[in-house]
């Protein structure tokens, strides 16, 4: 038996199947072979990718007259030829059953919470109150970077990190601390290119000071266990931790010289 079908229709089915396997299984299992972290893609993303692949395949079968006719041939055969009546009847039964099942599956009550829409890095306010003092977030830079010795701040930040943050964010700064797995969503990994590297230090300051409870609505404040550290740490202590985070994760903060976020396009 030939593995690769010669007819466009069979090829279409094969491409869709391969694409589905790549997305569903390839994404979680191939990157680890190269030492990269990965996880299964959420259903919403699988759906989105498959929709794109489907559009692509439909374009491929129909952008050439011959291929389009060849693609339609098996469909027409199943619809009209006498000897294919069993397939026709089977489809006539299967398709409605499938539709019915999807409808049932969608409507079925389930115990899981609805998918959450959560912006991990929602828009910060222009300024915040820190222990009754107003601190502007816009344009603010880490004051300790111009003050005193950086190494000293780093050591101080390290001490504070190990005393307070370690249990969740982990000693590799990867969000895998001893308590980390207990939380859902998990503590953020600072090693990730999508976290502190994309943010200004003032943003990180805001997040540390205000914690999960201080997130705006789109950030899902009910969905984060991050404490509001303004209750426990002083302003300078937070700034030293931030220095530690960036140095230890080997990342550079986003700076204010350029207008933040003006890169355009989807985030």
């Amino acid at each position: 038996m030939r593995l690769w079908p010669s007819e466009p229709f069979g090829q279409t089915v094969a491409i869709l199947a391969i694409a589905y396997l790549l997305i569903e299984l390839g994404i979680p299992y191939i990157p680890p072979l190269f030492g990269l972290a990965s996880a299964p893609a959420p259903d919403s993303v699988v759906f989105q990718y498959m929709l794109t692949v489907l559009m692509g395949v439909l374009i491929w079968v129909s952008d050439n007259e011959e291929r389009w006719r060849a693609f339609k041939r098996p469909i027409q055969r199943v619809l009209v030829e006498e000897k294919r009546k069993p397939i026709r009847v089977a489809l006539l039964v299967l398709v409605p059953v499938l539709v019915a099942f999807i409808a049932f599956d969608q409507a079925r009550p389930s115990l899981s919470a609805p998918p959450s829409f959560r912006a991990i890095h929602p828009a910060p306010p222009g300024s915040m109150t820190f222990r009754d003092r107003t601190i502007p977030i816009t344009g603010l830079e880490n004051p300790l970077r111009h003050e005193g010795r950086l190494e000293a701040h780093y050591e101080e930040g390290k001490r504070i990190y190990y005393r307070n943050c370690l249990v969740c964010h982990g000693d590799l700064l990867d969000g895998q601390g001893p308590y980390g797995p207990a939380f859902n969503p998990a503590p953020l990994s600072f090693q990730d290119v999508g976290t502190i590297q994309q943010l200004t230090e003032s943003y990180v300051f805001w997040r540390i000071a205000k914690g999960g409870a201080g997130l705006p609505n789109e950030g899902g404040p009910w969905n984060s266990a991050m404490p509001a550290w303004e209750e426990f740490l002083t302003e300078d202590e937070i700034w030293t931790v931030i220095i530690f985070l960036y140095e230890q994760a080997d990342k550079t903060p986003r700076t204010w010289e350029e207008v933040a976020g003006s890169e355009g396009g989807p985030q």
Binding site: W60, N64, E257, Q267
Partner: protein, 600 residues
């Protein structure tokens, strides 16, 4: 200004509307001082005031964009007819103008609906804006009059001034039409950009009479919006013309007509996609100005509650790229000699599909709790790499490059170069494509290892590499294809219907995208009528979620396309019966004007 949120019956609103429209300014001031209580908001029985205004404004803008975009390329087409001695372009230009003529009154009607809607439903906002912008409103009316009159002269004078110097004069009328139209749009843009970015010295306490007219008129986002809209109007006009041509193609009953409308659809599509490639730069400029004006507003737009809007936008742009290329590829079927290039389309398609996948990968993913815990947050450990700007810029630049390659192959399909250096030329072109793709990829990957500031600079290099490749390859191609041998003329009209449906999808997608971006522009003001100056205190002050916006946009698009279909159908009625030769002679006798309506 009094802030009485009066709940009033529609009848009262109408009375107030007449009052607002009729009273001169001093009386209004008196009203503000408390002798007459002015209501801030009116009520609309179905869907609420915001819904009504939204529909009115969006449908008006659709028509307005169409009647401003079409004259631009009508004039260009006429010039190609005059200076290139190609009568078919002149015919095309006239057909464009006929579409314009029939859409023009719809634009005005919806403009009136919008104005009356504002007067009755948002009298407070209206009188505030009217007090600041009164002089420009009068200028608007005047220019609108000139524009209408120029349009009538331009269209009805087409046959009379069709030769020699008169033709040039007629062409000048077309240019004048564009000047009036653009001026009208610029004036209207100042009103809405003022609502987005009022000058910094205007505060909630500033009485509208004290606002300096010119600083309000030429506000921070005025020019960026002007530029963005001019380009977007061309895109939109091209897309609607493409849809119109597709419709006429599908219903054509002879080969001549099919050939003509096939060609017209191709031109419309080319204009739309060509101008679309420039649009992101104008968008970038606008976005930058918004950030400069107010960071808060910028962050709300890009990263705040509107961030999902850009994923939807990415999806729509993916559809545009795919449908635009599809149209070109199917079109190769009617070009002799195109079969040599057809094996390449599947690889270009692969690039486009992968590009769309990357381009639309969300940074924050929608996931349920089990999926979230598997990913360790709403940020996917592997796909998250595709969710950042480096990946997206790379994807979109490669998609632009691929689209250009499609177009190039389409252009060359029936030509065989005869110049001696043809082989070298093609190799240089191929090298240019490869080099710019490598530059784009290099900076895309390198972008992960540098800071944000440097990374933003990279997107400029990527764009420049692509633009350079496009310009250089085109220049070589134009020289190389001089005196090229032909495999045969393009068989215009021999196009399968599915290609025309792709034009419909393009038209619907462009229209919907315009509605979506309109929501983005207007929505970032959030609960302000005039940003940080006049607060929206109505029951509709909250900015709605995307799903609701999508429904309203779809309704707007349906209304617009329904009306366009009706208008074009009516326009078609006038032309058909008269064309038959038997009646033509009879008509030519006296009714000159009617014959002109006929079109050809």
């Amino acid at each position: 200004m009094s802030r009485v949120t009066g709940q009033i019956a529609p009848g009262t609103a109408l009375v107030v509307a007449v009052f607002v429209a009729a009273v001169p300014m001093p009386l209004l001031a008196q009203a503000a001082e408390g002798t007459v209580q002015m209501p801030m908001y009116g009520q609309f029985p179905y869907g609420g005031a915001r819904f009504a205004i939204w529909i009115a404004a969006q449908v008006h803008l659709f028509f307005a964009a169409f009647v401003l975009g079409v004259p631009m390329f009508a004039v260009v087409a006429e010039a190609m007819g005059i200076f290139g001695q190609e009568p078919k372009y002149d015919k095309l230009a006239k057909e464009f103008t006929r579409l314009l003529l029939v859409s023009y009154s719809a634009t005005a009607i919806w403009g009136a609906i919008l104005a009356f809607g504002l007067i009755t439903l948002y009298p407070g906002v209206w009188s505030y804006l009217a007090e600041i912008f009164a002089p420009s409103m009068w200028a608007y009316v005047g220019l609108f009059f000139f524009e209408s009159f120029t349009l009538y002269l331009y269209y009805y004078g087409w046959e009379r001034w069709s030769v020699g110097g008169a033709k040039l004069g007629h062409w000048t009328l077309g240019i004048l039409l564009n000047v009036w139209g653009t001026a009208v749009m610029f004036i209207a843009n100042s009103w809405l950009t003022y609502m987005m970015s009022p000058p910094a010295d205007v505060t909630p306490d500033t009485s509208p009479a004290m606002v300096q007219f010119w600083s309000a008129f030429a506000n921070a986002t005025w020019m960026p919006i002007n530029i963005h809209r001019v380009i977007a109007n061309i895109v939109f006009g091209g897309a609607i013309v493409g849809g119109y041509a597709a419709y006429r193609f599908l219903l054509a009953d002879n080969d001549d007509e099919r050939a003509h409308y096939d060609w017209m659809g191709y031109v419309g599509n080319l204009i739309a996609i060509g101008a679309l490639i420039v649009l992101p730069f104008a968008g970038y400029y606008l976005g930058r100005e918004i950030y400069e004006f107010n960071q808060q507003m910028g962050i709300t737009m890009m990263g705040g509650f509107m961030s999902w809007l850009w994923i939807i936008q990415a999806f729509l742009i993916g559809v545009l790229f795919l449908a635009g290329n599809y149209y070109l590829w199917v079109g190769m079927g009617r070009i002799p000699g195109a079969t040599r290039f057809q094996p390449y389309t599947k690889w270009m398609l692969l690039v486009l599909v992968v590009g769309v996948i990357v381009w639309a990968t969300p940074n924050t993913m929608i996931a349920d709790r089990a999926e979230l815990s598997a990913m360790g947050g709403s940020h996917h450990p592997f796909l998250g790499v595709l969710g950042v700007m480096s990946a997206k810029n790379t994807a979109v630049n490669l998609m632009i490059l691929t689209t250009f390659l499609s177009f190039l192959l389409y252009r060359r399909a029936n030509k065989r170069p005869t110049v001696t250096w043809a082989r070298t030329g093609t190799q240089v072109q191929a090298a240019l494509f490869v080099i710019s793709a490598v530059i784009v990829l290099f900076y895309g990957i390198y972008g992960y290892f540098v800071t944000a500031i440097v990374r933003i600079g990279f997107s400029v290099y990527q764009v420049l590499a692509v633009l350079f490749a496009i310009i250089a390859v085109s220049a070589i191609d134009i020289r190389m294809m001089r005196r090229a041998e032909s495999y045969g003329a393009i068989r215009w009209g021999q196009m399968p219907p599915r290609s025309q449906y792709a034009l419909f999808i393009l038209m619907v997608t462009f229209t919907w995208l315009m509605g979506l971006m309109g929501f983005a522009r207007s929505g970032i003001r959030q609960h302000w009528h005039v940003w940080e100056v006049m607060r929206d205190t109505s029951e509709f002050a909250a900015t709605p979620p995307l799903g609701y916006a999508a429904q309203v946009i779809s309704i707007c698009v349906l209304i617009f396309l329904g009306l366009v279909a009706l208008i074009f159908w009516v326009g078609g009625l006038a032309e058909k019966p008269i064309v038959t030769p038997a009646r033509k002679d009879a008509l030519m006798g006296g009714e000159h004007a009617t014959a002109a309506v006929a079109g050809d």
